[in-house]
Symmetry: C2
Subunit: 768 residues, 2 copies
């Protein structure tokens, strides 16, 4: 064991309080005099607002505040959106999806708020609505937005009409690649809208103090994102907004951007100091959390007879719903990751983000890549069969290796993809004879980004020789608090109990962007590690000065003259002396933001960031299924997930991420989809929106591959998103292997599989 | 006006919430499931604890926890004390004063806690008690402590017996000075125990989370001091202790060290996660807040005929009560400041801190100097009359000037003492004919320290171009939050609304020591100013890089190319760009700790700090009184207080400090004293302990003298403590001027004044 803590299985720092039920979540918080908010939402997918009458609601019992767009600065507030500022907090002049906030009420209890909201009279004039992105792209389609503007110039290049963004990544000469290919395969694949389905719905409490400052408690993936969006939408300076996050019951991307927080603040602003709480009922959560973009992906792949992939092309349409939200980023990441973990010289990956009159979609675990990984890995299976190769061999032949480049030209050093192919296939018994006729095996290769933007940290030496980390990176249940504490404890050579993590409070921590992009272990870990090293250096300098020697050793919370453990200063001594005598407390500080080479502008149109991603993560998931030929029911028997994480920090945590990701990926592949009837969600609850129940979860074997990323903290990279991506395509390929049919649209329900079997039988009957 | 904000009158940043009543103080905080704690206290001044029986209390209705010393780690917990670790949280084996905590109970309501506490049976064996420090110093006196140990070696040099510390400052040759003097005056003066009498009693709430971490809410003058003392006493690592301070209703030194906080934590630890609140009833507050040390000061002063003071000697005995607490510091500061703002070459200032069986005394506004200033300024008056000089002239003749040295050898640059003498005497009309017979005028010169130890700060640029300060310096009502915001806003050229101050939370801020020693404007102000300059430099560097020029100007929240305001970046641009593109958010950081020359070891025995004080502050207070010769009643007609503060930051704040200080000083001089009967306080409430009522407050004229201290933020120094020191001696000297009697023991009640008048009349009658 190279490390004392890193790479071990450690108990999560919040396990005990969660197990005891003493951890506070947003709905556990009750403040004195608290009011309850209710948001009135649009019943129409697309309509002009003719008039809003709040007079009856204002007079209703218990009502303390009613807010509509007109109450906000500039009669509508600022438009928000991480890439394109196109969304008002409350609908202004028109509504664009069923469920869009139109007004809100705060009352002394929830029933009173519900009752009062129903007394708000809104007169609408219905407009023609668009539900299909392909239709929305057609010339002459009604415009959902007239005039919107992106903050980042690169996203401002709208294609016009209802296309809110279009990103292309290209390398080499894809046309020539196809010309030189012996075999060309083509297919169009479709994926559904997947809901994040975290256990805890979104909620917030807002309260103004007498000085006009607001404190917002919210289960957000990014306290600073929440602070910024409230500032933008309500024109309150950030200096007057404090955001505090309690414990969080999952996010999966749905809690990055604001949802109810500005509405809560707008209500609280009218109550003269009373706190207002809104926790979304599940059906409102589904329509507001911005689920995963549905996508239609048309692929063309060209190969030599020996299986070398010469050209790969995708054109994808992502359904953004009514607002852009993270869409421009999602489609860009979908395009940049679409090449996959393969050496392919000629690529062209186009992706469009298109407005429709449905709920807005956005970030969900995988962020565009989940869609393109599914479709690409199906294509590889199709291609392997077209050239008569084993799908494992085809992947192995084209697999990238250390020294290869990512799309965009970043040279990759930490690449465990081939190892993951080997481990996953061996773990599953890829070549083992099948036990029954209708069993099949499939696999999927995965590549994703890990780390993005900045995390600032402070590590300070306390007076008693313990340490306090200040870091705003949110643990949303994935275990990052534990990882950050582990990293600092490892670096300082102290037990984890000696390290406190202060987080979840914009007043308490340096800036960090949100918990996204597999970035907390990597970017956050690097950040706290650098800050720890900074304070360590200061401790050493102080010890050198006090012990009058540069020749020092550190052990058991002591720094001592080499070979003379009696000439020593304990961490406790250093803590006391620094504060009382020597120039002030020792405080390490860091801002971690990897500077990578800018993407070659020639290979991307509308590329998303000035710098790409810090580290790339790889993996392979392989599944064995059994298909019932009479019902179409698919039973997943086993799933092996081998993931290159650089270095596991907390092994239990990594395995937990893999297992959870696989289950969510199986849901994506087999049963999950947000369904609509003319823009209205028809399954807005966890009874009708089906996530895999425990009984359907197969044996999952997580395998950790460690490649030691030289840029990661102790060599670590991320895992969270990658863990979800492989299950759906692996199962899709296994189904084909089992029964010879390919369902090209997720989820692969028994009905769809049975239909494909019946069509295949009909074709075979016709042919015979 | 040199500055936009500094030197103005600005509204305090918390004025609105305080005026509206929305500011939360400790007793406003109610947590779900909260229990109420009651401390059982010793009824004896000195007794052995034979046995404690808690069995009945444990069975009492509503009781959830009972704690005694035996429940603490090592059967007593760690001993605490800022200088000498001599005090247990709960009495171990014996009690040393009436009111010492012996046990504590937490119950579902306060009445249940009170009832249960009375069911704890403690068997005592009374021991001989010492109430007089002079008696306690006698050989053979019973020992109050057997064996205690100081953290700082210099304070470990106990003199044995009941003397817990002894400090001497000497310069020159005091014996030779007396030999060369034409006139020698001697007198012994006495001061009482003064209670801080803040409006809000001390309180705390403690709650453990499931992970064994405790959060403590408390109205403390030092969140990090509280954190450290809980760590020391209960052996909980600081990494598991978070301290949060709500708004605070005054402190005056009584809220620096811990009082109820460890007791609250000890109870909370036994409740399995329920919060426990203790807010002290007034009578317990008085016995626990550590009032001002009573002192007996014997002076000898030698002068030439022309009024030049050649030698000054003081021997002072300070009554520490049962524990050392801040005593060693108090007596040291009393000695180091006893020379006063005068050029005296030969001095010897001795001060003893002596244990007695009374409530422990400690830090109170003035910290030892209040006592010695009173007695020294009386001596100057006596001396002036002895050499036949006007007291103003005598002071002016000996007054220190810029370039002179402090005791200890620090060269002083910012010295406005002479200006203050002039301003105060002119303001009062020193030489104006007296309007009635029994009127008199007196004055007092003041010198005190300003600034001590360290304050760490962070100033970060928010995404929207506003700023957040993180600084742990506590505003206890004196207005320092406003000053810190003003300083940063001034430096950054933004309105105060653009600056947020995050404070009062050990999780949120870098380390700082407590609100003491007139240090927040000076030390804290320097700290935030340095951090602001740090972020300003980073903003300029980023702007230079982006605008491609070093030739920059800053105005109206923009940095632009000199002479070309269109080539500009707003603070908002810089906030966004730093976070999203350029290496991370801009965060300025500082630890301010002035490194002054170490005291010459030859001039001090048992000196308190490796470095003395950063800045010295000066002032003069002059009073006019009218004495009723038949009742001895003293009416203060007018008090002029001229104070050298270097630079006023918030003029309203400085004037408020002066006015409040004068009133507290008048209380010290005329009516305040904690009274005892065999160690039991006989006036433990604000009815019987009399602070000056509004009707007795005279016309107060604050005069601000600005000398621009080159080491202070914008030239500022402190004011808080100095404001209190002059009133008592000025009034004492005015009484003598009015009626020719000197009461040598504070407070100068009508009874004492009348007695002195009667004695004088008797003497005169005898002589005639």
């Amino acid at each position: 064991m190279r490390y004392k803590l890193v790479g071990n299985r450690v108990v999560k720092v919040d396990a005990r309080e969660k197990a005891l039920g003493s951890a506070l979540y947003i709905d556990d918080i009750v403040l004195p005099g608290m009011l309850y908010g209710k948001i009135l939402r649009s019943p129409y997918a697309h309509a002009r607002i003719v008039h809003i009458d709040i007079s009856k609601a204002l007079k209703a019992p218990g009502v303390k505040a009613v807010v509509t767009a007109k109450d906000l600065p500039g009669k509508g507030g600022g438009l928000v959106g991480p890439f394109i500022k196109d969304e008002p907090i409350f609908a202004v002049d028109k509504v664009r999806y069923v469920g869009e906030p139109v007004a809100a009420v705060a009352a002394t209890d929830l029933a009173a708020a519900d009752a009062a909201a129903s007394l708000i009279h809104v007169e609408y004039e219905e407009l023609p609505a668009l539900f299909d992105p392909v239709e929305a792209m057609r010339e002459g389609a009604p415009l959902i937005h007239d005039n919107v503007k992106g903050y980042f110039a690169v996203f401002d290049a709208r294609r016009g009409g209802n296309v809110c963004s279009h990103t292309t990544f290209f390398e080499g000469d894809v046309e020539r690649g196809f010309q030189e290919s012996h075999v060309i395969v083509e297919e169009t694949l479709r994926t559904p809208m997947q809901y994040q389905a975290y256990i805890e719905p979104i909620g917030a409490i807002a309260q103004f103090d007498g000085a006009g400052r607001v404190t917002v408690w919210s289960n957000t993936q990014g306290i600073f994102v929440t602070q910024d969006r409230i500032c933008e939408s309500l024109k309150i300076p950030m200096s007057k907004i404090r955001v505090i996050a309690p414990k969080i019951g999952g996010g999966f991307g749905g809690k990055i951007e604001t949802t109810v927080q500005p509405h809560c603040v707008a209500l609280a602003q009218k109550t003269g100091g009373r706190p207002v709480k809104i926790v979304l009922p599940r059906e409102e959560d589904i329509s507001n959390t911005r689920p995963r973009h549905p996508a239609i992906m048309s692929w063309k792949m060209g190969l030599k007879k020996d299986g070398t992939i010469l050209a790969s092309q995708m054109s994808a349409i992502f359904d953004s719903g009514a607002y852009a939200d993270d869409g421009p980023g999602v489609v860009a990441v979908g395009a940049i990751t679409a090449r996959g973990p393969y050496r392919i010289r000629n690529i062209r990956m186009d992706s469009y983000c298109v407005y429709t009159n449905k709920v807005k979609t956005g970030a969900m675990r995988g962020f565009g890549n989940t869609q393109t990984t599914y479709s690409r890995e199906c294509m590889l299976d199709i291609a392997a069969r077209a050239v008569g190769m084993d799908p494992l061999e085809l992947r192995m032949k084209n697999a990238i290796e250390p020294g290869d480049k990512s799309v965009g030209g970043q040279t990759l050093h930490s690449v465990g993809f081939k190892e993951s192919l080997t481990a996953a296939s061996e773990g599953l018994g890829w070549n083992r004879p099948k036990e029954t006729k209708y069993r099949g095996r499939g696999m999927a290769g995965i590549n994703h980004i890990s780390g993005l933007l900045t995390v600032g940290s402070v590590v300070r030496l306390n007076e008693d020789g313990t340490f306090t980390i200040q870091c705003g990176a949110m643990d949303i249940g994935q275990g990052s608090d534990t990882v950050l504490v582990q990293i600092v404890a490892e670096e300082m050579g102290v037990p984890m109990d000696d390290v406190r993590l202060a987080s979840g409070d914009t007043d308490a921590t340096p800036y960090t962007w949100a918990t996204t992009a597999n970035r907390i272990t990597y970017t956050g870990g690097n950040s706290v590690l650098l800050a720890a090293r900074d304070v360590k250096r200061q401790m050493r300098d102080l010890a050198a000065q006090m012990l009058d020697t540069e020749n020092l050793e550190t052990k058991d919370k002591k720094i001592f003259a080499k070979g003379n453990p009696d000439k020593a200063l304990t961490y406790h001594d250093l803590g006391k002396v620094s504060v009382w005598v020597k120039g002030g407390p020792l405080i390490g500080k860091s801002n971690f933001m990897v500077e990578e080479p800018t993407l070659d502008p020639r290979c991307a149109i509308g590329h998303p960031f000035g710098t790409p991603f810090s580290a790339w993560i790889f993996g392979t998931q392989a599944a064995e299924v059994e298909v019932d030929p009479d019902t179409g029911e698919v039973r997943v028997l086993k799933l092996v997930a081998a993931h290159d994480v650089g270095q596991a920090i907390n092994v239990d945590g990594v395995e937990g991420q893999i297992e959870g990701g696989v289950v969510q990926g199986l849901g994506y592949g087999l049963c999950e989809a947000v369904l609509f009837d003319k823009g209205r969600i028809t399954n807005p609850n966890l009874t009708d929106y089906k996530i895999p129940p425990a009984a359907d979860v197969p044996e999952i074997t997580p395998i950790i591959i460690e490649t030691h990323d030289q840029t990661g903290p102790f060599g670590a990279k991320g895992i969270g998103e990658a863990a979800l991506m492989g299950a759906a395509p692996a199962v899709a390929n296994a189904i084909f292997d089992a029964i010879g049919v390919r369902v090209t649209e997720l989820p692969m329900t028994a009905e769809k599989v049975l239909k494909a079997i019946q069509e295949k039988r009909a074709r075979e009957a016709k042919a015979s």
